[in-house]
């Protein structure tokens, strides 16, 4: 089955920053992404969990974006603006995609 090269960018970011990140991404022309929930985790600023929480102040989400390699830098620049001062991990990996015409 024919596949196409693409990049998979995963941005783990505070939930409270999600809209700011996706707005910035959309402004940079990135419109395809999915949001995954994160239940908890641990890092330099300690560990956390969403259990029983009502506030939005802690907790993270993963914004996952499959993107053409040539568009990667636009996305990273946009993401960096938002993630910069904020807690967050950004990873990039190679993937192949089926039906590249769809994204």
């Amino acid at each position: 089955m024919k596949t196409h090269q693409a990049k998979r960018v995963v941005i783990t970011i505070e939930a409270i920053m999600q809209n700011r990140l996706t707005d910035t991404m959309e402004a940079a022309g990135v419109t395809g992404y999915s949001i995954l929930p994160v239940l908890g985790g641990s890092g330099r600023s300690g560990s956390w969990s969403r259990e029983g929480q009502i506030g939005r102040a802690n907790g993270m989400v993963q914004v996952i974006c499959i993107i053409k390699p040539e568009r990667l830098d636009d996305l990273l620049d946009a993401a960096f603006k938002v993630v910069d001062k904020h807690i967050g991990v950004v990873t990039i990996s190679d993937v192949e995609v089926l039906r590249a015409e769809r994204f």
Partner: protein
Amino acid sequence: MAEIFDLAATNLLSPVILSFVLGITAALVRSDLSVPEATAKAMSIYLLFAIGFKGGAAVAANGLDGTLVATLVAGFVLSAALPLIAFAMLQVMTSLSRIDAAAVAGHYGSISIVTFVAATSVLEGRGISSEGYMVAVAAVMEAPAILSALWLVSRGGSGRRMDGELMRDIMLNGSIVLLVGAFFIGAVTGQEGLDKISNFIVAPFTGVLCLFLLDMGLVAGRGLRESRGVLNFGAVAFGIAMPLVGAVLGLVFALIVGLSSGGVALMMVLSASASYIAVPAAMRVALPEANPSVYLTLSLGVTFPFNLTIGIPLYVAASQTLTGG
């Protein structure tokens, strides 16, 4: 005095408080007891809707007396001013950085709606009535403190942190919208509306509050466990002194405005309580460098339990003594 102790004891041995104690204990002994996030949010929606609606219906029943506007203004001023006092106290009592101190200060100007809810339930239990519009005052007091906190930081040199989007986020955050919206619905539909849904928002209210406080205890206990060592003696002392300072200021304003005995107590509770929803969220956006464990632990782990157990009966007793109510 004996009466205060009596009131405190009755309060401490109520299902509401004991549920909180159960939660905090379960978290501290590392039980895996937990309330799902969706359930906790559902209960907070229920409580906000119920308290807002009941406030609105009370206003519809009693009419608006002339003190409404004065009380709203008083609330606004208190919310904006308390952070300045808190900030000064923090600089004396703790070694927190300027930014951390400002972030903490913002929490103490704003309010904790569940502390307010617990206080109304104590008042009801003792048959003390209060102005229905106090929930509107609670809503008004959520945001100004955030602006004061950011102003404290910007005075210290770092550029401005407030933008239009953040402002909108703060003013239209879910709790405020729901509280104010339910207040209007209650005010518009009045006693008739209340009759239709009182089996939902009045009858089971205290029971839901128990489970909600169980969850708050779990979250607070987990926070305390995680952040052991984050707070030194000075910070903990602040977390107990500041609500008392706030309560006294709230008392003064409320007496000037001329609230009823119950209204005075609630104004004290609002001033004494520290935010743990709206302000932490705003601080993560505007002051990401501030350490969340400091302000969350102080607000939820120290001041909230203090107000819940000792503060509320104290404020109620003080207001009764001073208003003769």
